[in-house]
Every structure is written in structure tokens, then in C-alpha cells.
Symmetry: C2
Subunit: 114 residues, 2 copies
């Protein structure tokens, strides 16, 4: 991995719209979305109410908006079961699951360096 | 890497102060700091004015504050040369350099998935 780092600079024009790193930060940036992905990853499948309790300090509006955006960006899947009361569950898509190992490396870096 | 992902959940209590992923996001969160790290990584050593021009849209206050925080967190090194006019240069610390490969993976994920 250090071989890649030496040969390839991180971003030639990070401010440019074409920068993939910027695109990633655009869809998972801010603290809520990563926290939401973490909670879903940990539980595999979660209900809306579970998320609301687990993500400390989040408002209903922020949670609902974040979930809608994560769904639109193909990271979270929403399943609605027509029971009474209606049950809504969320899980990670394969795309989001492929992101988890990289977030785990970030976490590991934090453990070793912070 | 997928082996790790299956065995180890991302965060048990992401909202908790002890979560290393949260600590990482706390020190590199927001769009400016990652952009600043990118520009320094690309150029190896940069002057303040160079950074100001390269990071599109950043204000003087935001750049100065971000650099101070990155320096305090041990990610960026500031060198002042007593010339006329005074020359100030910034480079990444070994700690920041060890973070770059992970950011490159995030970028690669973005290229493949977004």
C-alpha cells in the first residue's frame, strides 16, 4: 500500500468536480452518515426507531434526510413491511458493504495514531 | 480485507467518545482539511500562498485555522524561514503520510462505485 502512496499523489485537483475522493466525501461527509452506516453495519438490519435511539443526538429530520440521501446514493436499502403498525427496516447495500473495510482501516489508523 | 469486514463490526458505539473512527473524523472531517492534505501531498512542500490558491473557495481565516489544527494534531509541519519577506512552508508529517494510502483507497472506491 505504501508503494501506491509513493507513486500516486492523492489528488491532482481536489477542488475539481471530477475528483473521486471529493465525490466520496460528498456522499458520506458529515458525522451523521458515517454514524448511520456504522449502526446498520453493526446490527445488519435495523428499524427506524432503533437507528433513532442508537445515533446519539440526531434529530428526526436529520435522520430521515440522511437515510433518504443514503438510499438515493445506493448505500442503504429500505424495506417496508405492510404490517400494523408498518415496519420499516434498513440494511447496507453491497456497495456500502464494500466501503466498510476501508472505514475499518481508518479506524485502525486512529487507534494507532490518535 | 473482506475477511476483517465480516468478523469485525465497524463500531460498537460510534457515538461514544472512545470510538477511534469518530476521532479520525474529528481531526480530518469537513471538506477543507482533506483538501489541504491533498494539496500538500501532491506538492510535498507548499507555501501558504500556494495553498490559498490551490484550495478553491477557502477563506484566509478557514485556511489559517485549519492549518493550526492540523499542526496541533500532528498531521502538518510548519517551517518558517527568516528571509525577507518571511517564507512559511508546510509539509506532511510521517503520521499524515501513513493516512494517505487509506485516503487513496477511498478515492479508488469512489472511482469504482460512484
Amino acid at each position: 500500500m505504501s508503494k501506491i502512496a509513493k507513486k500516486e499523489p492523492l489528488c491532482e485537483e481536489i477542488a475539481g468536480k471530477g475528483c473521486s475522493l471529493k465525490k466520496v466525501l460528498d456522499i458520506i461527509g458529515g458525522k451523521w452518515k458515517i454514524m448511520i452506516l456504522c449502526v446498520i453495519d453493526y446490527n445488519e438490519v435495523v428499524r427506524y426507531g432503533q437507528l433513532n435511539r442508537a445515533v446519539d443526538g440526531i434529530t428526526n429530520t436529520m435522520l430521515a434526510n440522511s437515510l433518504k440521501e443514503l438510499e438515493a446514493d445506493g448505500l442503504v436499502e429500505r424495506k417496508q413491511y405492510d404490517e400494523m403498525p408498518v415496519r420499516v427496516e434498513y440494511n447496507l447495500t453491497p456497495k456500502a458493504k464494500s466501503l466498510i473495510p476501508i472505514l475499518l482501516e481508518l479506524k485502525k489508523w486512529g487507534e494507532e495514531n490518535l
